[in-house]
């Protein structure tokens, strides 16, 4: 008879806490490995772009960060929803742990987008549909974090955060669609920042490797943060008080 893992036991903070400690270093290591591979391909294998010169090499982090920013928002909304539907504290803690990293990814996408736009289109900010949607996504992340920060009662913060995260996740496609409509009407034939004339296979490999690196990094950092949140929220629990002395 095959043994099945009872995954649900990890839904309790004292069971999940040691798991984060074991897993986080592995994800940091994976991030470093994929990052090194991605940077190698991005700088030493992918050729110079005919139209954009060397500046295009920014896409290796811009696209990875943008993908992560959108993916993490959905992950955040998912855990917030699970936390409120099943009344599990740990799920809500995961949502709160994801938010700052998601916001950081959005910021990186916006920063690198601006630095890519300036040499390419001559302006630091071009109101491209994707960049504008990223900006609004940043506001959505900040809204979630501010709402939770303003509420003292952790359970009310969890539930209120879930409402705003779920309302946000439903609205993100609508916002993206509206901004694209607005952008095509106003800018007509302008080129989208993420549309490259032809993606050499090496460029694509570089992008995918960096995306994987960012993904592994995000998981590692979120595990580390949820560890901190668990310690903060469960500090009066016996199992926390009985944790061994820190090595350092």
């Amino acid at each position: 008879m095959t043994a099945t893992i009872n995954w649900f036991k990890y839904a309790s903070p004292p069971a999940f806490y040691p798991l984060t400690g074991t897993l986080a270093p592995w994800f940091f290591a994976a991030a470093a490995v994929f990052g090194a591979m991605g940077l190698y391909v991005g700088f030493f294998v992918a050729p110079t772009d005919a139209q954009q010169g060397e500046a295009y090499r920014i896409i290796f982090i811009h696209v990875a960060a943008a993908w992560m920013s959108m993916f993490l928002y959905v992950v955040m909304a998912f855990w917030a929803g699970v936390g409120v539907a099943f009344n599990t504290r740990l799920s809500s803690m995961m949502a709160s742990a994801v938010a700052p990293t998601g916001a950081l990814m959005t910021f990186i996408a916006l920063w690198t987008g601006a630095l890519w736009g300036k040499p390419m289109w001559g302006a630091w900010w071009v109101w491209d549909a994707r960049l504008t949607s990223e900006l609004i996504l940043l506001f959505l992340y900040i809204g979630f974090m501010s709402l939770q920060a303003a509420i003292d009662d952790p359970r009310r913060a969890d539930r209120a955060g879930a409402v705003i995260a779920l309302v946000g996740v439903v609205n993100v496609p609508i916002i993206y669609f509206s901004v694209q409509w607005w952008n095509t009407l106003h800018q007509g034939a302008s080129v989208s920042l993420t549309r490259s004339p032809s993606m050499a296979a090496t460029m694509l490999t570089g992008m995918l490797l960096m995306a994987l690196a960012f993904w592994m990094y995000s998981i590692a950092v979120v595990l580390l943060r949820v560890r901190c949140i668990i310690l903060e929220r469960e500090r009066n629990a016996d199992w926390v008080k009985q944790l061994p002395e820190p090595q350092r």
Partner: protein
């Protein structure tokens, strides 16, 4: 290999400011996020004793 020398690599075809500005800030953000989190964790572990 794409680059003839270290200096051509650093110059990035004239776009050094933009490319290294992007990678630099990203690296900084990542370093900051990780360091702050580790410090927060250490502070919390010390408090729970």
């Amino acid at each position: 290999m794409n680059w003839g020398s270290v200096s051509t690599f650093l110059a990035m075809g004239g776009y050094a400011g933009f490319v290294w500005g992007s990678y630099g800030v990203t690296g900084l953000c990542i370093a900051l996020e990780t360091t702050l989190l580790m410090a927060r964790h250490r502070r919390l572990r010390r408090k729970t004793d």
